[in-house]
Each structure stands twice: as structure tokens, then as C-alpha cells.
């Protein structure tokens, strides 16, 4: 294992010290491992909190700020945060209009956020609504699995719901926008390499020089199948076709296309993939209204990418374009 770390157990805490030093407009609670907007709570504004295991940076701490999250709860690497963290964040960001919990659909995340919401109801008067993202088409959505994983849509949802909250909309309205985004977005990813969790010191799975893992998650959990490495255009088809078939997307749909790096893939390859994705979308009569290309929801040092396609309305686009100021996304200001 070659990593820029000191001791594996200190990785998250030391990274948060670095976040604090780099972004003076954020506030870091080191005891609870929570990153806050510097000006939280905003009176009258719905508070947005999210969180999850660390190792997916910039999500979620890098998405805290004006127009997006009010707080991000950071768990250990690939391990969901604990209820105490979400309870504390809920109390801190409540500006009197309630708090939205944005939860990715993983067994641990859902249980810990559920316990936090139960504790918030028992201990505080804060109104909490939870929205769960589950956009990964690689996983069968059936009662026989834990359900689809929350992946790329989470980033787009935090931006769009964040804009809705910034406009002063009610908790119910913000939650409805968030559910609309989740309902209209689909994702799928592939890995070219495994990732290495600092505490383990070795790759989570083995992948040969000429193999790729198709339908991979963001925690080094193996995907649905293993396939021989292929040219980018074939990989793009492998990812986009199941996405389009699932919603399903149709001719004339307008979308935000999001090509996301998993942590170990250079931007030049992501742009190359974006070209392939755009060609397939265009061939299907789908109009790309906005694009996001870069590494936003990562899996430590994993090489590979995910593609997310979100069908949008004029209103969702307007919220997407609204000003945002976070470490990772920042425009319109």
C-alpha cells in the first residue's frame, strides 16, 4: 500500500483538519466529525444534512456550503456515520424550518440515519424528513436484495435540493424536489482497478490487467459481473444502455449527463468518456442540457467511472443553475 497517510486510524480526523485549514468558510466539529456551513443555522431555511462513509470525497464534506448542504457527517472509511453525528448535525443546522436527511441506500447508512431520526423525534422538536437515493441500475431492485445503491444521483440531488432550500421553500417542498431528482436519475459504474482501504492495506478485490468489474459500487464491493477490458466506446454503451432502458428515457428528453471518476482515473479519460456518452445520448434523441465531468463521488483510489443521467424539467435546470459555493461545486457567484 502506497498512500499519503500517517497512521490508518487517523486518516479521517487528519483529513478534516486539512479541510478546515483549506476552507475558512466552513466550520468543522472535530469531536463529531461534522463539516458545517460557516453560517449555519440559517433562520427560516430548511437544513440539509447528508453523510456517509469517508473515502468518497469530495462527497459529502466538499458539497457543504451556500446552495448545497448545511452539514456533512463523516463516518470512518466506507463505514456509515453513527446516529450521534446526525442527531448533533440536525440540532445545529435547524433554522426553524426543519431538516432534510439525504441518505444513500446502504443498509448501514439507512439504519444509522433511522436511529438518528428516532432520537431527534424523541429528544428535540426538530421536524426531520428523510430522502433515500437509490439510482444504481446495476443492482436489481427487488425485495430479495437490499435494494438499489445510492450513487451519482446523490451529488445532483444535493445541488438541486440545496438550491430549493436556499430559495426558502418548505421542508415538504424541498423533500419533493429531492424525490423528483432521485426518481428521474439512473447511474451505473465500472471499475478498472480495486481500491485499497487504509486500514486493510491491500486491494479489496483482485482484478487482472485485462479485466474490468461491471456494475461496481463505491465501496470496493464487487459488481455484478467481470468482463474483458474494452475500448471506451464499448464501455460507454455498457453503462448508458442499461440506464436508458431502466427509467426509461425517451427521445426528446432533456438531461443532465454526469460522468464521474471513481478516484484513480485522470480527467482526460473522463472527458473522453463524456464524448462517448454524449454520442450515445444523441443517437437516442436525448438532449444533454447540462454536463458535469469530474470526480465527485469516489471510491478512494479506484480507477474507473460511473455515468449518471438525470431527466430534467425547466424548473430542475433552473435550480441546477442557481448559485452554489462549496469546495467542489461553485458557480453563479
Amino acid at each position: 500500500m502506497k498512500k499519503l497517510i500517517n497512521e490508518p486510524p487517523d486518516v479521517v480526523a487528519e483529513a478534516l483538519l486539512g479541510v478546515e485549514a483549506a476552507h475558512p468558510d466552513l466550520r468543522v466539529d472535530h469531536q463529531h466529525k461534522i463539516v458545517y456551513r460557516g453560517d449555519a443555522p440559517r433562520p427560516g431555511k430548511v437544513g440539509l444534512i447528508s453523510g456517509g462513509g469517508s473515502g468518497h470525497e469530495p462527497m459529502h464534506a466538499g458539497l457543504v456550503g451556500l446552495g448545497m448542504l448545511d452539514a456533512a457527517c463523516c463516518g470512518e472509511v466506507f463505514t456509515s456515520p453513527v446516529p450521534d453525528q446526525m442527531l448533533e448535525a440536525t440540532k445545529v443546522v435547524d433554522g426553524g424550518a426543519g431538516v432534510l436527511h439525504i441518505v444513500k441506500n446502504y443498509t448501514g447508512d439507512v439504519m444509522n440515519f433511522d436511529m438518528a431520526a428516532e432520537l431527534a423525534a424523541a429528544e428535540t422538536g426538530v421536524e426531520v424528513t428523510s430522502v433515500v437515493t437509490n439510482d444504481d441500475v446495476a443492482v436489481q431492485d427487488s425485495t430479495w436484495t437490499a435494494g438499489r445503491r445510492g450513487v451519482g444521483v446523490t451529488v445532483l440531488l444535493e445541488k438541486i435540493a440545496g438550491a430549493a432550500a436556499e430559495e426558502g421553500r418548505s421542508l415538504k417542498e424541498v423533500a419533493d424536489v429531492a424525490r423528483e431528482v432521485n426518481g428521474n436519475g439512473r447511474s451505473m459504474g465500472i471499475a478498472l482497478t480495486s481500491c485499497t482501504v487504509p486500514a486493510n492495506g491491500k486491494p479489496t478485490f483482485e482484478l487482472g490487467e485485462t479485466e474490468m468489474e461491471v456494475g461496481v459500487g463505491i465501496h470496493g464491493e464487487p459488481g455484478r459481473s467481470r468482463a474483458p477490458l474494452a475500448p471506451a466506446k464499448e464501455i460507454a454503451a455498457l453503462l448508458v444502455e442499461p440506464i436508458l432502458a431502466d427509467l426509461p428515457f425517451g427521445r426528446g428528453d432533456r438531461v443532465i449527463a454526469f460522468v464521474n471518476g471513481l478516484g484513480g482515473t485522470p480527467l482526460i479519460e473522463l472527458y473522453l468518456m463524456n464524448n462517448e456518452v454524449a454520442k450515445i445520448l444523441s443517437a437516442n434523441g436525448i438532449m444533454v442540457s447540462r454536463s458535469l465531468v469530474g470526480s465527485y463521488i469516489t471510491s478512494l483510489d479506484m480507477a474507473g467511472c460511473s455515468v449518471t443521467v438525470l431527466r430534467v424539467t425547466e424548473e430542475l435546470l433552473r435550480l441546477w443553475d442557481a448559485p452554489v459555493r462549496t469546495p467542489a461545486l461553485r458557480w453563479g457567484i
Partner: protein, 208 residues
């Protein structure tokens, strides 16, 4: 089983022994998790149980000690294991009550309450390939061992939990991250069932 007793000190010894077994099997639990999950079960359980022991197992009653230990797990483990093992101990503690000693019947009832808590939190069913598949046979063996000496019932429970753990190898995962693998989850022993079998084994060696 009627002559069986679990004192407060024995209960604390059980939790300490579970912590010791988790530490001893830490790498094994993590390797099992790497095969079908996200490679953190041993690390997380060891962090949580070490914290439980380090906090001193405070409390004057079985209920208080278990509540404190359960909250410590919930607050330190994260993932699915934190809420599940935490809920097990919280419910065990509520069922045990504010007593300094449990008779065998009440101990078994508390184990059942803990198991029911795990089911309520995780929605797992039999053969979903989870900790339930080791814990449930263990509790059931205790319940059907009412006519046995308490020590024999505990050993039968530990054996049943081990057998349940082994049976997860052939199961298709339907809960947790392993469920994403579909058919590829078959052939791997479930890490949660493995740690749950350690919990029951620890009971058999400290409470018998």
C-alpha cells in the same frame, strides 16, 4: 436449566470475552467481509467492542450495563453492525431489567428480546445470509434446552450458532451489501453470522 444463574460479574465477563474473540478474529472477519461486502466488519466490531470494554462496563444492574454497552456500540461502530449489535444489547438490557442476577429463564428471554430487536432493526429473515442465521439457531437452542443443565444448553446454543454460521456459506445473500452480488455471494461465509457465532460462543464459555 432452572438452576442456571447469570450474575452481573458473569455478564460483564461475557462481554469481555466477546471483545477478546472479536479482536482475535478481527482479520478473519474483515477478510470474509472483503469477499462479499466492504472489508470493514472486523475493524468496526473490534473498535466497538474495545470501546465497550474501555468504557469500563459501567452500571449496577444487568439492564444498565447492557444499555451502556449497546449505546457505546451504536456510537462507535457505524455501518450496519453498530445499530444491529447495539440494538441487540439495548433490547437484551431492557428485557433483563434492573437486576443484579438473571435466572436462566430470564436470560433466555433476554436473548430472545435481543434477537427480536435485531430483526426489527435489520428486517432480516431466515436464510437471508446475515447474523440472524447464526444468532437465531443459538437462541432457539437455548429455548429448546429448558430441560438441560444450563451449561449444556449454552454449549448446545454455541454449537447451533456455529452450524448456522457454516450454513451461510451456501446461502444467496438477500440483505446488506452482499445482496448486490446475487449468485456470486454463494460460497462465502457471512461475516455477520461469524461474529454472531462468537457472541454465543463467548456466552457458553463464560456463563456455563
Amino acid at each position: 436449566m432452572s438452576e442456571g444463574r447469570v450474575t452481573l460479574d458473569e455478564l460483564k465477563a461475557w462481554l469481555r470475552e466477546f471483545a477478546r474473540l472479536v479482536a482475535e478474529h478481527r482479520d478473519e472477519l474483515t477478510s470474509l467481509d472483503a469477499a462479499i461486502g466492504d472489508a470493514d466488519h472486523g475493524t468496526n466490531m473490534d473498535r466497538g467492542m474495545a470501546a465497550v470494554v474501555a468504557a469500563g462496563l459501567l452500571g449496577d444492574t444487568v439492564g444498565a450495563v447492557c444499555k451502556h454497552a449497546g449505546m457505546t456500540l451504536v456510537s462507535t461502530v457505524g455501518g450496519a453492525s453498530g445499530p444491529l449489535y447495539g440494538t441487540f444489547l439495548l433490547r437484551f438490557g431492557v428485557a433483563a431489567g434492573d437486576v443484579v442476577e438473571l435466572d436462566a429463564t430470564r436470560f433466555v428471554a433476554a436473548m430472545r428480546a435481543g434477537l427480536d430487536g435485531v430483526v426489527a432493526r435489520g428486517k432480516a429473515e431466515r436464510e437471508d445470509k446475515t447474523m440472524f442465521d447464526a444468532l437465531a439457531p443459538g437462541v432457539e437452542a437455548l429455548e429448546s434446552g429448558v430441560d438441560l443443565p444450563f451449561g449444556d444448553a449454552l454449549r448446545a446454543a454455541a454449537d447451533a450458532a456455529d452450524k448456522g454460521r457454516d450454513a451461510t456459506i451456501e446461502m444467496l445473500a438477500r440483505k446488506g451489501r452482499a445482496s448486490y452480488l446475487g449468485e456470486r455471494s454463494i460460497g462465502h461465509q457471512d461475516p455477520g453470522a461469524t461474529s454472531a457465532a462468537l457472541l454465543v460462543r463467548a456466552a457458553s464459555t463464560t456463563l456455563a
